[in-house]
């Protein structure tokens, strides 16, 4: 079963807003895409249309947080981390204010709009900022849990939301704890760390490899930062190799985060399936675009076999 992450996100925002009168939602003229429009419909008095002015929206959120509010700001991931990077750094991260930044249509998921609208560097940009927490959900259930979790975190949180419907792998009763990785399939030969859409590709790859007698452990890493280094090191114990799969540049994202931890002991080789330092492009559908950049189960299988 597939569900839409944006819709799940918007519904979670409404739910949170009904319980907490301090939640304020801002959007930069994309509320129908980010689905913050659901909040506007239900709680219009706490929805602020910021206009197409992401920098002002971001610093306004800082002001709202100083005034005791819990702002959520929205745009496409590429604009909500790039256009306003300095505002996030200076007015939000430095003072460690409670602002949640939603980067919607993350990665290549806005497949038709091309490179200007696709984010291949947003996770790296947010991860490098001190005080920032970075979430990348892989399904609708996890998305909802992240919205809730962001409210109990001291300091800013970035949530990258995929535009498309993705298979649901989590159940309502499953836990989501910031910083924890989750083993979704056990295996003893190799480990694949993945997040977002690539988590599903990793599960597919593991299923195919199992038919050849290769047992792959698939780990969902929904929190890029902070990352539990001990847990990541434990998960590679006894493995013949580790692959990191992400819908992002190979520079600075999840591959970087995992490699930075594993290089300390260097007990296992680490490879990645990611964008090879290139921008996106327009395509007729999402799957075609992912395949164009090698973000497929087949490429994960290739990486595993090549150890």
């Amino acid at each position: 079963m597939k569900q839409n992450l944006r819709t799940a996100y918007g519904e979670a925002l409404v739910e949170a807003g009904k319980c907490d009168p301090d939640i304020v939602v801002m959007d930069a003229d994309l509320c129908k895409s980010t689905m913050s429009v659901l909040f506007e419909k239900e709680i219009p008095e706490r929805f602020i249309e910021a206009g197409i002015a992401e920098q002002n929206m971001t610093s306004m959120a800082a002001g709202l947080a100083i005034g005791g509010k819990k702002p959520f700001i929205h745009s496409f991931a590429v604009f909500d981390t790039g256009r306003n990077f300095d505002q996030i750094r200076q007015s939000i991260c430095l003072p460690k204010l409670n602002v949640t930044i939603c980067g919607s249509s993350g990665g290549l998921s806005d497949f038709a709009d091309g490179a200007t609208h696709q984010s291949v560097e947003d996770v790296a940009l947010m991860r490098v900022l001190p005080n920032m927490t970075v979430f990348v959900p892989c399904d609708a259930v996890q998305t909802k849990k992240m919205v809730k979790a962001s409210l109990s975190i001291e300091g800013p949180v970035y949530i990258r939301i995929n535009r498309m419907d993705l298979p649901v792998v989590y159940k309502e009763e499953d836990a989501f704890i910031s910083g924890k990785a989750y083993v979704l399939r056990e295996g003893t030969d190799f480990v694949v760390f993945a997040q977002g859409v690539m988590l599903h590709k990793a599960l597919e790859a593991a299923e195919m490899l199992s038919k050849e007698g290769i047992a792959v452990r698939v780990v969902d890493v929904p929190t890029v930062k902070p990352l539990d280094a001990v847990q990541i090191k434990n998960l590679v114990q006894g493995m013949k190799g580790a692959v990191v799969a992400e819908e992002h540049s190979r520079i600075g994202g999840l591959y970087g985060a995992i490699a930075e931890i594993l290089i300390e002991d260097a007990t296992v080789r680490v490879k990645c399936v990611a964008l090879n330092d290139v921008f996106g492009t327009s395509a007729e559908n999402y799957e075609v675009l992912l395949a164009h950049y090698g973000l497929t189960a087949d490429k994960i299988i290739e990486a595993v076999r090549a150890f």
């Binding site: 206009g51 610093s59 005034g67 430095l94």
Partner: protein
């Protein structure tokens, strides 16, 4: 009228003390933002000792006026006032911009009591003020948010995003003050990069705009009182000032935007700001 004259005199005296404090913070041989701190000292004195009613006791409350130093490099003037108000011991002043001090080169709300927002990357303070004004409206708090901007800072496009937002949301508790000292870090705006008519620009965004002499305490008092009136529009005060005001060698001299002073200059400054009673400076 007598009372008013007493008020003006006392605020002028406060401004003198702020300038004296600024010199003690900069000291001998360390670069400091002399020019912009001196140009806004009278504005800061009028805000902190007449209009804001912010104290170390009420600072933790939401229900109070707010002040954001958007031109963060001039924070020495604000530190000078916060020290006078007892937000931190005056002994901190000489530790400005040191590892052991609590006074950073630019405002940091987590390191210095009395600081509202982290600024220094220019152009963000007005937006932060807009957010704060909306938070206060949601909380049903009827107070003002004051933001001090530099005239050079107005070149940042984000200022005009905020100007549009403030009008759209009818933030009539928002009072922006432009410290129009006519100079940037390198020279006069007219020679290098000019934003032309500041008042007309804000008016075209739907703001109520006023122009005053930023070193005339009577004018500052009057215009800040005028800005208390609610009218559905945000207000801007274009305060014409002199960069380096009060220091002969630094006035209208861009070399003192961020400069180290030698011993003789510090001595001259101490004499200039020692007051009628010839206070001995530490």
């Amino acid at each position: 009228l007598v009372d008013k004259n007493v008020l003006i005199k006392s605020l002028e005296e406060k401004a003198r003390i702020l300038r004296k404090n600024i010199i003690e913070m900069i000291g001998v041989g360390h670069a400091g933002h002399v020019g912009g701190s001196m140009s806004c000292a009278d504005i800061i004195a009028c805000l902190y000792f007449y209009k804001l009613n912010i104290s170390s006791e009420n600072f933790i409350q939401q229900d109070r006026n707010r002040f954001i130093m958007s031109k963060g490099h001039s924070v020495l003037a604000q530190y000078a006032a916060l020290a006078e108000l007892g937000f931190f011991p005056k002994s901190e002043l000489v530790k400005t911009k040191t590892l052991k001090g609590i006074l950073q080169g630019h405002p940091d709300r987590n390191k210095t009591p009395g600081i509202e927002a982290n600024t220094g990357s220019l152009g963000q303070g007005l937006s932060i003020g807009c957010g704060l004004a909306i938070a206060m409206r949601l909380n049903k708090i009827e107070r003002n948010v004051y933001i001090l901007l530099g005239d050079g800072e107005l070149a940042e496009g984000q200022v005009w995003e905020a100007a549009a937002a403030a009008k759209h949301y009818k933030l009539d508790h928002l009072v922006a003050i432009v410290d129009a000292n006519n100079m940037g870090a390198v020279g006069f705006h007219k020679d290098r990069y000019c934003m032309e008519d500041i008042k007309a620009k804000f008016e075209s965004f739907g703001w109520d705009a006023y122009v005053v002499d930023g070193h005339n305490m009577a004018e500052l008092i009057r215009v800040l009182d005028t800005c208390d009136r609610s009218c559905g529009a945000p207000k801007v005060i274009v305060a014409h000032t002199t960069k380096g005001k009060g220091l002969n060698f630094a006035e209208n001299n861009a070399s003192y935007h961020n400069a180290a002073l030698d011993e003789a200059q510090v001595q001259l400054a101490r004499e200039a700001f020692c007051g009628e009673k010839k206070e001995v400076c530490v």
